[in-house]
Symmetry: C2
Subunit: 498 residues, 2 copies
Amino acid sequence: MVKESKPTGGLEWRINIPNGTTSKVLVPESKSHFRVWNGLRGLIVGFMSRIWKFFEKAWSLAVREPKKAIHGLKVGMALSLVSLFYYMRPLYNGVGGNAMWAVMTVVVVFEYTVGATLCKCVNRAIGTFLAGALGLGVHWIANQSGEKFEPIVLQISVFLLAAAATFSRFIPAIKARFDYGAMIFILTFSLVSVSGYRVDKLFELAHHRLSTIAIGTSLCILTGMLFCPVWAGNELHYLITNNMEKLAASLDGCVVEYFGIHANVNAKGEDSDKVLQGYKCVLNSKATEEVMANFAKWEPAHGRFYFRHPWNEYLKVGAFLRKCAYCIETLNVSTNSDTEAPDILKKHFSKFCISLSSCSSDVLKELAVIMHTMTKSTKIDLMVHEMNNAVQELQCALKSLPKETIIGDSKSGIEEGNKSTTVVPLMEIVPIVYISTLLIEIAARIEKSVEAVNELAIKAEFEQESTKKSKKIQNQQNPNQPSQGNQEDLTMKTLQKV
Amino acid sequence: MVKESKPTGGLEWRINIPNGTTSKVLVPESKSHFRVWNGLRGLIVGFMSRIWKFFEKAWSLAVREPKKAIHGLKVGMALSLVSLFYYMRPLYNGVGGNAMWAVMTVVVVFEYTVGATLCKCVNRAIGTFLAGALGLGVHWIANQSGEKFEPIVLQISVFLLAAAATFSRFIPAIKARFDYGAMIFILTFSLVSVSGYRVDKLFELAHHRLSTIAIGTSLCILTGMLFCPVWAGNELHYLITNNMEKLAASLDGCVVEYFGIHANVNAKGEDSDKVLQGYKCVLNSKATEEVMANFAKWEPAHGRFYFRHPWNEYLKVGAFLRKCAYCIETLNVSTNSDTEAPDILKKHFSKFCISLSSCSSDVLKELAVIMHTMTKSTKIDLMVHEMNNAVQELQCALKSLPKETIIGDSKSGIEEGNKSTTVVPLMEIVPIVYISTLLIEIAARIEKSVEAVNELAIKAEFEQESTKKSKKIQNQQNPNQPSQGNQEDLTMKTLQKV
């Protein structure tokens, strides 16, 4: 039976299967080929577009952080240099087949930051040396105990030392500084004690390995430090500084958006969202900060950082900033919630809240400037003082609230010209009280951050901003300021307090 | 001139230096020896005590987490097994001097969790294979281009591929899964293309390396999976479960401590502090969770986890728990602050706040039970409903506050028998409003966590708690509950909502 089927929109051949209940569409062979080809083409196109996307991502990463692309080139260069030991015969004859170890050292040891590279180099050298020496000792003891017991002594020693060294990698003190060294210790000890059973030229082997490691590590260190070096200390310094700026922007944006004064926000739309979400980077920066601080300790003096720069202080500053970020997160969620305060209250409080948040973010921005210029600021104490004043004003506004919720007159600034009685139920002031208290809490946490930065500034011996220069700037900023003396008095007072 | 000096309390000999202005104490030789000896002894004792402390720490770690000590023993065992290839001649003849690579593979690849070990094994195998094949190809091309150009072609290929592979390690998609593979790729490619210039038996080398890597990896995988395996998935599962319990304990402890009902706190003193600070572990668990989830994806089915267990859902649950933790952090700080609410208000609100916090922590505890038993709970929706009721009661208490702040009568429960007028200024209710709103916010975040856990329960196909069993338990817990039907209605309603 042949019938036409409408839905496909064209002519189609069907046959009924003998049982009479089903029918099968007859597809022309060329059409099925076409389908297979179409499916295959779809697969290939999909695959190619995925690869294309991957390369696009890689390209945008390289454009955004050229340092990382340069690091790739540096590794390539170091490897090319080390492979010269193979290609140039005189060098080859010197180092021999062991040049493999130099290549391996370069690949394994060359890290993104100088600190990480130095840490791994030192670890590799110490681990290899210790394990080599111990391996020779154990080998000598095994030799003395007769041919029968030799493999047993070696096996037991490998088992015990490998177990102990592996376990030691879990101990925080070892893990932080010598994790890689412990691994290299196990590796070298196993190789020396095991291969010692076969190769009798153990001393020569040890000597070769150490010299090739020396070649590899020195190449890595030189390449890492001479061409566009990436210092872990620098990265940590700028991470903390950036975090301060991000927190300031988030805090400002969040409060201004809540009180509906959009004109003041510089960035709009997607950018504004990005600014508001800046605090999220700070929430989870602990691990990165700790790793960076750990590597920074291995680095020699560089740029504006001396050898014993107080990197641990950065961790303290980072911890306080994170505490600010927790609070800003709570604030951000509460300002985005559905339960809004009545407009009349929002208008009244907007002045105080925005004043406090802008004072707070100014302090954060000034902290970022202190970090950026590595100069003690003469303004910071004044700014903290202003922030505390703003806190007190907000608290006063909260205190004087009952009166104003009952009678809204023109003096209170709620609604000018409206002298009628406006009673606001207490429940409706809850959001404002909550947000105000969060802002006050954030100010308190920022003050702690200021203390931590001051501590850092003392320990890292940040330069003192010359009084003359600061006066000049202050005069330029406030040409009509009547009493400069008063301000400086305040600064002195708060300085003494801090 | 000889004189006696009093401060030392004994007889002392001095001589005047000719210029007459200074005098020098004559110390008996035996005394200076004694001092040196004392100093040396102090040094040695200090050194020994530091070593002793280190071992004490290591011992306490091993007692606290025996799995880690066992991991050490497992690595020792795997190394002993692999070194058998050296000691037993028939095996040695088979694998040859390349057995070194097997030792190296074991040391480098054997990780704490099975997932991490598998990830490294697969990475190492793929990296070696790809780089080996590519290295042979490049070597063939270099061979064709004549003896002069051979090293140049090889050098350029090493430079380009090493640079590209190193850069690829910065791309998040590669970094998460194939970081180690990229490193091994660089290593093997460099070794093959460089050593190829010397050694003509490249195919044999490649074959040997692959077979030794196969021996090493299979040994690691077998040892890791057969003897006390540590599964990354398991660890992640228990990390999330523990975090729920910690949050519940912190929340409960914090609120109960603030309202001064110490009798209800189970733990006291140092222990109580530890319980209160439990939320801090949750604040910074993101990195660990991500690493664990990443490794868990490599693991085969084990215990109660199937092969395609939805590990990503754990990350979502973890993220919501962390959001709770941020809020609890703010709550904890505010309950410890100096500005306290007046006792009369605290007493009044304690009932509602403690009720809400205990409902909230009950929900968290029930979530932990769901995770622990991997069974869908019939109670959880009821508990969320109760939590929401507690939220509403607290909100009502806030709403009805103005009346009660003006006239405190016995009905309001503020102070029984005290019928006089007690006026509380608004400023003093701020802490209570703040803490109440935080508790309400925490409840909202816990509800989000419940949704995430429900999503996980669906995707991971958690078993349904048999209705019969749950009824039995409910009857045991609430023998006097009048209407079971009502409760189940509620459960159904909330179930539909979710």
